[in-house]
């Protein structure tokens, strides 16, 4: 019998939601690390009981926790994220240069092949890697040392590296995204990087088509077609057919093309999910209606998914790492809100129900399908 495990990071702790393959009845475990911000939790694809967690606090800094038993018990591992060499500077809000300063880990991406290897996306933007199960972290500094680095600037939420996509067909290829520098790709395992922002058009920067400076909110791919990428940008939903070399807009008939998460159906590489948000100044669903939008055509044509979701007076947000899909035969889709609800659909988004309603604000949602 399959089991589905949903890993939920919130402003005040971690929660683990578990169900059988029917996904109707859920067991809730938590809060783990009560009172701490849990930016992200993710399990190893090759050893699902190995889970890594980014536990942070404005008071007490960064912790990385590791579980070897599916989240039943945890041990703190290495938490020193030192920038390689002289950290240098990047652009600050007032236009001056500001030293690179580590604040927190936004995203942990375990290797597709080795449970001891994990990539970590940090604020201020940098990519770190461990090969010993999180005990020691080394920066892949070729990214931060890109010639455009001094011109990178934070968005309102900080200069965070929030997306890490590992290409299952090419271990040397990694995609990352930074708010607000844009998307980058390495084809040599992280030594060198190139911006992949051609085709993006952002009216909130001086040159709307600049090489860097775009506020990319999230990138997604389907593992069967790793060269096809989908992006939710600050505004605009985008698509690339060529590993990010160029992008085209596929916002189509969305009621708003502002939003944070984007994800791809587990079995249908052209089926996408986004959650439109009214605007960059009003971070809640248009008209107070919480609607996931699904495209079965790889973008452009979108349909609202509303059954089981609140359709009046709903003013929550869904953050960039707070949506995930499982790989059950009938694909499950999950997302968490800043209002503390975690919604689940076991039928590709046709119908929804809350698993929990009253958690702290949800920062991240990941799903493990255990067979």
């Amino acid at each position: 019998m399959s089991t589905v495990r949903v890993l939920v990071g919130t402003r005040k702790g971690a929660f683990i939601l578990t169900s059988d393959g029917k996904r109707q009845d859920w067991e809730v475990s938590g809060p783990h690390f009560a009172g701490w911000e849990i930016f992200h939790m993710k399990g190893s694809p090759v050893d699902p009981n190995r889970i890594y967690t980014s536990q942070t606090s404005g008071w007490f800094g960064q912790m990385i926790q590791r579980s070897n038993d599916g989240g039943k018990s945890w041990e703190p591992v290495g938490k020193e994220f030192a920038y390689d060499g002289v950290a240098g500077t990047h652009q600050w809000y007032d236009g001056t240069q500001h030293p690179w300063e580590f604040a927190r880990v936004w995203h942990l991406e375990p290797s597709l092949t080795d449970p001891d290897t994990v990539f970590a996306g940090a604020e201020d933007a940098a990519l770190f890697k461990t090969t010993d199960g999180g005990m020691n972290w080394q920066e892949l500094s070729g990214l931060r040392r890109h010639s455009t680095g001094p011109s990178w600037a934070p968005g309102a939420g900080g200069m965070c590296l929030h997306t890490i996509l590992l290409d299952p067909s090419d271990p040397q290829r990694i995609y990352i995204a930074i708010s607000a520098a844009g998307a980058f790709r390495t084809d040599d395992g992280g030594e060198t990087w190139r911006p992949i922002n051609k085709g993006l058009h952002s009216l909130y920067i001086p040159d709307p088509e600049a090489e860097v400076g775009h506020c990319v909110h999230r990138i997604a791919m389907h593992p069967s077609r790793p060269g096809v990428l989908f992006m939710q940008k600050h505004w605009d939903v985008m698509r690339s057919e060529n590993a990010g070399d160029c992008w085209r807009e596929v916002s189509g008939n969305l009621p708003s093309d502002f939003g944070f998460p984007i994800d791809v159906h587990a079995h249908e590489p052209e089926t996408l999910y986004v959650v439109p948000i009214k605007s960059d100044s009003e971070h809640f669903p248009p008209e107070g209606k919480l609607r996931v939008y699904r495209s079965r055509t790889g973008g452009e044509e979108w349909e609202p998914l509303t059954k089981g979701l609140p359709q009046e007076d709903c003013y929550v947000n869904i953050l960039r790492d707070a949506m995930a899909v499982d790989s059950m035969d009938s694909c499950g889709v999950y997302f968490g809100t800043t209002g503390g609800q975690v919604y689940a659909s076991s039928d590709s988004g046709d119908t929804w129900a809350p698993i929990v309603r009253d958690l702290p604000a949800v920062l991240s949602v990941e799903v493990q399908t255990l067979r």
Binding site: G35, W36, S57, G58, W59, F60, G61, Q62, M63, P76, K79, E80, A82
Partner: protein, 98 residues
């Protein structure tokens, strides 16, 4: 022995009670007390002060004997009552609104 009182989150991390007792070699200062604390409880390294610069984290405060010692030089001797173990050295999470 030097008595150090920890805030709740750090007690959880270190798996200790409200107060720990530490042996401190030489002069009893903020720096030497924190050195001893981090040596005894490595999980707290980086949670009170930056591991590289050894600067106090911005939202951590140090109190003792009804005084705020947060802005004292880390190598300044702590009050005698702390050095004698009569009073605890308090590590406090700063107040935050909201």
């Amino acid at each position: 022995m030097i008595r150090v009182e920890l805030p709740a989150h750090l007690r959880t991390l270190a798996q200790v009670g409200e107060e720990v007792s530490l042996e401190v070699q030489g002069a009893v200062t903020q720096a030497s007390v924190l050195d001893a604390l981090e040596a005894r409880y490595p999980v707290l390294r980086g949670a009170v002060r930056d591991p590289a610069t050894r600067q106090r984290r911005a939202l951590v405060r140090f109190f003792a004997c009804q005084r705020d010692l947060s802005h004292e030089d880390p190598d300044t001797p702590l009050p005698e009552a702390v050095a004698k173990g009569e009073e605890p050295f308090l590590i406090v999470g700063a107040m935050a609104g909201g």
